[in-house]
Each structure stands twice: as structure tokens, then as C-alpha cells.
């Protein structure tokens, strides 16, 4: 299993945690972005469809992990993003960070998910219970899921 992946298969945070954790690891922070039943503008969501430029997205994940290491010190990072059709409650993205101390793990994990939402070539189409769909851009820095 690679630390950086874009896949149609369901994500498993425990698998990523095992990828990054060794006996120097004292803190482990996992962020999971989950498909919510209600969109930011209050509409009832039936599901999401994600697509990605897979090669570029994985390169971006690797770059984000390098930058996190430079900013927050030595840490091990894994990032997996799901593509395809997801229903409410499914996990769209998992970011896992392991380090000796917890401050770096929190900082690096938050940096990584923020950077992913800002830069990674991944797109999301919301499907609503009323049958309509809409492409959603990450305009602000705190949209969910992710």
C-alpha cells in the first residue's frame, strides 16, 4: 500500500495509520473527511461524485507531505483520497500524520488537509435529494467534508 493514493476503493484509516507509525511515533493524528447529509447551503445531499487527475493529485500529495516536514519537523504522512460515487457517511479523504510529539502531528495534519483542498486536482459534484447536481469548488478554507 502506498502512502499517497487516489482510489475508487473505500478508505480505511487504520491501514494508513499502520503505514506511518513506527516505534518513534508518540502521537498520531488522523483526519477523515466524510460525506454529510446536508450541504453548506442547507440542501439535502444524496451523494457525491469525485474525480481526479490521479497522477497530478498523487504528486501534489507528495509535495504537501514534503512541505509539512519542512514546516513542522520530521513526521510521517499518508494521504488517500477516494474517487467515484460516494453516499452519505462514506469517507472521501484520510490524512494521517505520525510524529514523536503531538504538536507537530496536529499542525502537519491540518496543514495537509488545508493544502489538499486548496491545490490537489480533485473535483466534487454534489447530488441532491431533489435530483439536481452541482460542481462544488473549495472557495473558502473550511468546507466539509474534508
Amino acid at each position: 500500500m502506498n502512502r499517497f493514493a487516489v482510489s475508487e476503493h473505500p478508505l480505511d484509516a487504520a491501514v494508513l495509520e499502520n503505514l506511518v507509525c513506527d516505534d518513534k511515533c508518540g502521537g498520531l493524528v488522523t483526519f477523515s473527511g466524510i460525506v454529510r447529509a446536508r450541504s453548506d447551503d442547507g440542501r439535502d445531499v444524496s451523494g457525491l461524485a469525485y474525480e481526479a487527475h490521479v497522477e497530478l493529485a498523487i504528486a501534489e500529495f507528495e509535495q504537501i507531505a514534503r512541505e509539512a516536514g519542512e514546516r513542522f519537523g520530521e513526521c510521517a504522512i499518508a494521504i488517500h483520497h477516494r474517487i467515484g460515487d460516494l453516499v452519505v457517511g462514506e469517507t472521501a479523504v484520510v490524512v494521517v500524520v505520525a510524529a514523536a510529539h503531538r504538536a507537530a502531528t496536529f499542525d502537519a495534519c491540518r496543514f495537509a488537509i488545508d493544502a489538499l483542498k486548496e491545490r490537489a486536482p480533485i473535483w466534487k459534484r454534489e447530488a441532491f435529494v431533489d435530483g439536481t447536481t452541482e460542481w462544488r469548488e473549495n472557495r473558502c478554507t473550511d468546507e466539509a467534508p474534508g
Binding site: G33, Y50, E51, A52, H53, E55, L56, A57, A59, H81, A92, V93, I113, L116, K117, E118, R119, A120, P121, I122, W123, K124, R125, W135, R136, E137, N138, E143, P145, G146
Partner: protein
């Protein structure tokens, strides 16, 4: 020369393809390829400012000269996470 164009999300839907090969005159630049696409689907014209274009895996500028076999990826504003 032949250039492959891959499109995503809203641009994919508007253009009607995920990937397509285009014949372009020698000396064509990235902007020329875009103009060819707009000629076919005028509705995408307004999206140029918000679209990043990658050539062979790296984001590039409109003035970049294309070469036979290049792959252009049209990247609308992202929505991952």
C-alpha cells in the same frame, strides 16, 4: 502535430469528452489549443481565467510552445476533500 487534451469536471461535461486528440499546426502554443476548444464549445470561453492547464504532468503557461505528443490537462477550480 497531435496533442491529447484531457478534461475534468465541469469542463469535461461542457466539452463532452474526457480525452480527445487534436491536430494543431506546428508552432501552436497552449493558448492556441484553448482557442481550438473554444471554437468547438463557446460556452467554455469564460472559464479560461479559472482554469489551470497542465502539460505532461506539470502546470504550465498559455505561451508554452507545444510539441507533437504533448498531453494537456484542463484543471478547473478544485473541490477535493
Amino acid at each position: 502535430m497531435t496533442v491529447r487534451v484531457v478534461a475534468f469536471a465541469r469542463l469535461r461535461e461542457l466539452l463532452g469528452f474526457s480525452q480527445c486528440e487534436f491536430d494543431l499546426p506546428d508552432g501552436a502554443r497552449v493558448d492556441d489549443a484553448w482557442d481550438v476548444l473554444v471554437a468547438g464549445v463557446p460556452a467554455i470561453a469564460d472559464l479560461r481565467a479559472s482554469t489551470r492547464i497542465a502539460c505532461n504532468g506539470g502546470v504550465t503557461e498559455g505561451a508554452r510552445a507545444l510539441r507533437d505528443g504533448d498531453e494537456l490537462a484542463l484543471l478547473p477550480p478544485v473541490g477535493g476533500g
